[in-house]
């Protein structure tokens, strides 16, 4: 860990950010958390802890979900999830701990563990750096651009006797 400055810098490690089980379902577009900052309001403590410890994890795992916090607006804490069809889901998190809130969110609006494992497998195949084809998003367009490999036939014609066309047309039997 470097640059580990600030309060609880463990929150700023990739391992910690990746450790959240909450990957929101695709239809959830906005997540808002309403809570109060006053330490004396114990029923908000769970929501406060959720925002402090778990919100960076949730945003890291869901970069395309807008996460907004509202402080000191209402007497009771709650979380709202806005779905893409303009409906919303309200979670009343009064007096719940941040772990309970997290479990509840995973159960209601999170992708299941099996689905996440399937997606991880599918994405591994897609993101294999050994693949070629820039059009499909990989880094290299052809093996001809790697040093030590046969150069691109556009630039340097391939020896005739390496070509299948030459071989199969019978030129290998010709005497030079």
């Amino acid at each position: 860990m470097s640059f580990m400055k600030g309060i609880s810098p463990i929150r700023r490690t990739t391992n910690y950010l990746n450790a959240s089980p909450l990957v929101l379902k695709r239809r959830v577009k906005i997540l808002t958390v309403n809570f109060n900052e006053n330490e004396e309001e114990e029923h908000h403590k769970g929501a406060r802890d959720f925002v402090f410890w778990n919100l960076p994890q949730v945003q890291y795992k869901n970069p395309n979900v807008q996460i907004v916090t509202f402080r000191n607006l209402t007497p009771s804490p709650f979380i709202t999830c806005f779905l893409e069809d303009n409906s919303k889901i309200l979670f009343d998190v009064d007096s719940q701990s941040n772990k309970e809130i997290m479990d509840r969110l995973v159960k209601t609006v999170g992708k299941s563990k099996e689905l996440l494992e399937e997606e991880a497998l599918a994405s591994e195949a897609k993101s294999n750096p050994a693949n070629f084809c820039r059009r499909l998003g990989f880094d290299r367009h052809c093996i001809c651009e790697m040093p030590g490999q046969v150069p691109c036939p556009i630039m340097v014609p391939v020896p005739k006797h390496w070509r299948g066309k030459w071989w199969n047309q019978g030129h290998r039997y010709e005497e030079e």
């Binding site: 906005i30 209402t74 007497p75 806005f82």
Partner: protein, 163 residues
């Protein structure tokens, strides 16, 4: 020259934002907060993006927290969204769970009870007070953006402030 990458969040069909003062007529400027991840510091930083949204119901004012939705067939190039829902009205926040009007960590009913217990008189009465907007041009200058003024003109512009 590196092109500025627009955060993926801002391309969503719905967004939450706050209406900020603007000189637009017929539309509102909505400030949308979003987090951007810094790869080196491994932390999220708050950024804001302003969108111009039309208001079909004509009820929203500056300071309201609204949900804006992307317009599919844009009539004007600048107006990209429309206000689909008002989450919290400025000054009249309604708790979605209990349905009561609240002020910070208390409901209006609780505040009134405390006032009565203390015997306070002449306090602001939410029930009898008129809708927000009564003092729009006279004492409430939140509809248009303010600027710092450096000279005293004959005609005092209330939107120029000295601090």
């Amino acid at each position: 020259m590196a092109q500025k990458v627009v955060a993926g969040v801002l391309k969503n069909s719905i967004l939450v934002g706050k209406i900020v003062p603007s000189t637009l007529t017929g539309a509102h400027k909505v400030q949308v907060p979003y987090f951007v991840f810094d790869n080196r510091l491994k932390a999220f930083f708050n950024h804001h993006q302003e969108f111009i949204a039309s208001d079909p119901s004509n009820e929203s004012k500056t300071g309201d927290v609204v949900v804006i939705q992307k317009i599919e067939n844009m009539v004007q190039k600048e107006i990209t969204h429309f206000i689909s829902e008002t989450m919290y009205k400025c000054g009249d926040v309604k708790d979605p769970i209990s349905g009561e009007y609240v002020v910070g960590s208390r409901t209006r009913a609780q505040m009134k009870e405390i006032e009565e217990l203390y015997g306070a008189t002449g306090n602001f009465d939410y029930e009898t007070a008129p809708e927000r907007g009564r003092l729009a041009e006279t004492q409430d200058f939140t509809d248009r953006p303010v600027y710092r003024k450096w000279h005293e003109f004959e005609k005092d512009d209330p939107y120029g402030i000295r601090n």
